[in-house]
Symmetry: D2
Subunit: 308 residues, 4 copies
């Protein structure tokens, strides 16, 4: 038995980005700590943020603000397509990306490909606030495999593909899922009116390199490429996304068209995305446009790598 008077402390979860900044969250309860075949997973209750998932010590999603990530991840692409019926989600283990897709009553088939079955089962059990039953929706097909193995099986098939993959860390499972060759596979799996949205990493002035490279790489494959961003509170960062499209341009819509598509498809109760933020998200500031101009194309031969 021990110890003296104190000011602050307790159970914490800390996430470090390079040597510039560390975020420390306060943990109130721990639901699960597990090592899957692919990654280390923790599901905890944080002060302020509520139930939160960490993979390999990196925050993935907090109950407080998961909509700040998942609505921008999914809605701009779904709304840009005039009639999305067949949709593929790559990654997105929590099930909230799938949930956002299934909100659209036009959807008839939703295929989700995630490499980590153990993680998905764990999210299914412990994180119902995210998937809200999406895993057992009759329109859903779950495939546990590498996206690079699965996507080439489809040709001219999907209306919308959502790439919600973890960042391409060296030797990580997503390293080759951000290259020109992979985006060509996606291009081929989409119909002629197909739309892709890609989670593209941080959009702040410190770590925008991945974002820039993804935009440049998609420009090699798709005729229409529109970078956009949102802000995800629990990531402490503005977050980059890219919409790539064969035919439809998200900026060719009017606010009324956006509102109408949401309405007729039965999409209600959104908290981040609406007919105004649809357009605002595509207005990225000059400092990010500069980053894109100097970025390079990612290939299987030279995938993304953080500089030392």
């Amino acid at each position: 038995m021990a110890a003296a008077h104190h000011v602050c402390g307790g159970l914490l979860l800390s996430e470090t980005h390079t040597d510039a900044v560390m975020y420390t969250y306060r943990v109130k309860q721990v639901y699960q700590i597990a090592q899957t075949r692919f990654q280390h997973a923790m599901l905890v209750e944080l002060a302020g943020y509520g139930k939160t998932l960490f993979l390999d010590n990196k925050i993935q999603s907090a109950l407080l603000d998961e909509y700040m990530f998942h609505e921008p991840m999914v809605q701009p692409g779904m709304v840009t397509h005039p009639n999305p019926q067949r949709v593929l989600v790559a990654g997105g283990g929590e099930g909230a990306t799938l949930r956002e897709v299934l909100r659209h009553q036009t959807v008839q088939q939703a295929v989700m490909v995630d490499i980590d079955e153990q993680l998905v089962r764990y999210c299914e059990q412990y994180m119902p606030e995210w998937h809200q039953g999406s895993f057992s929706d009759p329109r859903t097909t779950l495939i546990f495999d590498d996206a690079r193995q699965v996507i080439p099986r489809y040709r001219n098939h999907f209306d919308v593909i959502v790439s919600d993959l973890t960042d391409p860390l060296e030797a990580g499972p997503s390293q080759y899922l951000f290259t020109r060759e992979f985006y060509q596979m996606i291009y081929d799996a989409l119909t002629d009116e197909g739309v892709l949205t890609v989670q593209s990493g941080a959009g702040d002035p410190l770590y925008p390199q991945l974002y820039g490279c993804i935009v440049r790489t998609l420009q090699e494959v798709f005729p229409i490429v529109r970078p956009y961003w949102s802000f995800v509170a629990s990531f402490m960062l503005p977050w980059g996304f890219v919409l790539a499209s064969k035919k439809h341009d998200p900026l060719a819509l009017t606010p009324d068209e956006v509102a109408n598509r949401l309405e007729v498809r039965g999409v209600r109760g959104l908290r981040y995305y609406d007919p105004q933020t649809h357009f605002a998200m595509f207005a990225i500031p000059p400092y990010l446009r500069e980053v894109i101009q100097t970025a390079r194309v990612l290939t299987d031969a030279e995938p993304f790598a953080w500089e030392a």
Copy 2:
């Protein structure tokens, strides 16, 4: 002499927001640590963020991204006014807010009121990247006093007022600079075409209460009130601002008019604000609009207070 092998550590600067999250920055050099009559000031060199000012252990401005705060703080209001000649800055000790005002060649008089002369002199000496000579611009008048003492001396005088004050902490110097009574003083000091912009605190889902209250309070005084936001990387937060106006509406402009006003007034080299982000900043998401609807009016009798 001592000690064993280690993994990470060193000189750090840590900032805690309630009990939910702490940010820790890595310090490479310390330029100054001082206690002024009003606040504790530290000027340090951070990894990633570069030269950075902290007041009372709260980050104020980092060289990496000070434009992500100061351009949104100033440019929407300056551009909304058709011909800003007389401008007042309340607070803004680093001088970067003043710098953004003076970019506009229309400006003939720029009055800056800050309560802490020692801090301003210290910024003048050590932070030239912020003020860039603005303190000695012939159009500038510096007044070291409480804004509530100074502003009532003016009637129908200023075209634009920029309120860049620290948050209204209990018993802090800014506690009564966010109330209806104070905004009425500002209203009276503005001309009939006058425009005000107010730094309004965090705009994330955890701490949006101050933002909501400021919008509601300004709605009691000004006919046109437009909340907007930006993202400030080194704050780790989206940041709230409000534009309040007697006559001119920022949303009544067209992108071309915004571009043209910047052009003819000689405003170049902006990195966050441009004719697209002008409008995007005013598209705040549904979750923030909800906060505003339930917020209360701040008065001298009941100023802002964080709930326990």
Copy 3:
């Protein structure tokens, strides 16, 4: 899904002592987080330290080095008494203090009084490495109550009493268990040859005040008072103890007598206490002797309080 490259981080447990220093341990697994009627308890697996108990965010005992606390807590008093048969332990929820008492084959009755039954049951279930069956030893009687209620029931009864109570925090359950009045109750409960040992808080130059006060207070009640210390690695501190005695002096023994008493009573396998460290622990350095000289007597009217 999210996030960039990182250097260090993860699940941590942090303990702060005043504003001078914080210790942060790395957590590998969480066994239990619970709020009992009296305190907040966490049982975790720490890197390096192994299974570890925290109460109210303060480290209590780590598997790596619990012997560095529990052997000094118990053995000097037990060895100083020539034939300890009846022993009382006050506090000591983990059961390791009781375990050290029961090592002595002379013991016929061991009474343990702890206020927090829920905590003791929880230690019984999850921390068998500490109690090693002591709770179910036929010589053991467990009483869940306030020590001040229980001890006055005994008169001239115990050979040894071990006070292993949490520090006397203001308004905490132990606040009045370090006063002259309480030590008088203990004195009365002991036989004429009775020996008391008291866990007495930190023994470093920063927080030695409690230690000094306990020594001074015991000097008001017992004829022989011998302060001693050990070092507890997981506390990051040298730790203070006091032996108070009616008749027997620990320094009147010889190393051979210490060795002999351990031998004949069947006490083996100790890792901190032995015939050399018995004497070394009583050699406290001049800086601690100075603290004792200027300390005050603790009373029910003026119990211990940390100075602001």
Copy 4:
């Protein structure tokens, strides 16, 4: 300008030991941050600990408790020698080790060898509380060089040598100053009655490997080897030392002889070392004796290395 209400934070200095524990000190003022030819140095004012030196982000010495390191580093060896006149200090840049040597009026020559002149000059200027003028004592000779270059110049010369070197980190300046070959050089530089004391790293159950190896290595060279320890509060650790001797045994003295030697040599005002703690320090507990038994001999071919 920015930011919300907070609980704790500010300027911190953090030191990490492997992945088990991190200590975080609170910094009140920064006197100097500099990179010398050999190491990164910071001199800061810490809450609680006062003025403190860090080298390569590892705490070296705090004003609060530097005596807890420097008295045990020097006094047992000096007192064990019956008449120390010529003394060499290896390392000890702050000058406090030299100060402890010069307390003995028997000393006629004190040679200090430190590789880092810039650091010593910096300590001379900013840390007068440590050296207290020792660098300019007429008995002192300062040599700025590698100890392995300097010590072989002496044969049968020194009565006492104090090895106050930083830990032998891989590729660090002290890596080859803890080997059998180096200790043979020291042996040769000592007179036939010569005594050596060595700072030997942490003495806790987590990191005792270096300590064990130094004891074993010295046993290869010296006939009398006595491990001892103290506790250094600001290191958060018990600290290991070793006394190695050609003829005199520190345990052959009596407390009265220790007291008498201090008295006649004019050594007064010590706060950690005295005739009782002299003997207590040599009573290391069983867990450390076990470590020594299984440790290996360090050689130039196989110097010390922390295991992964």
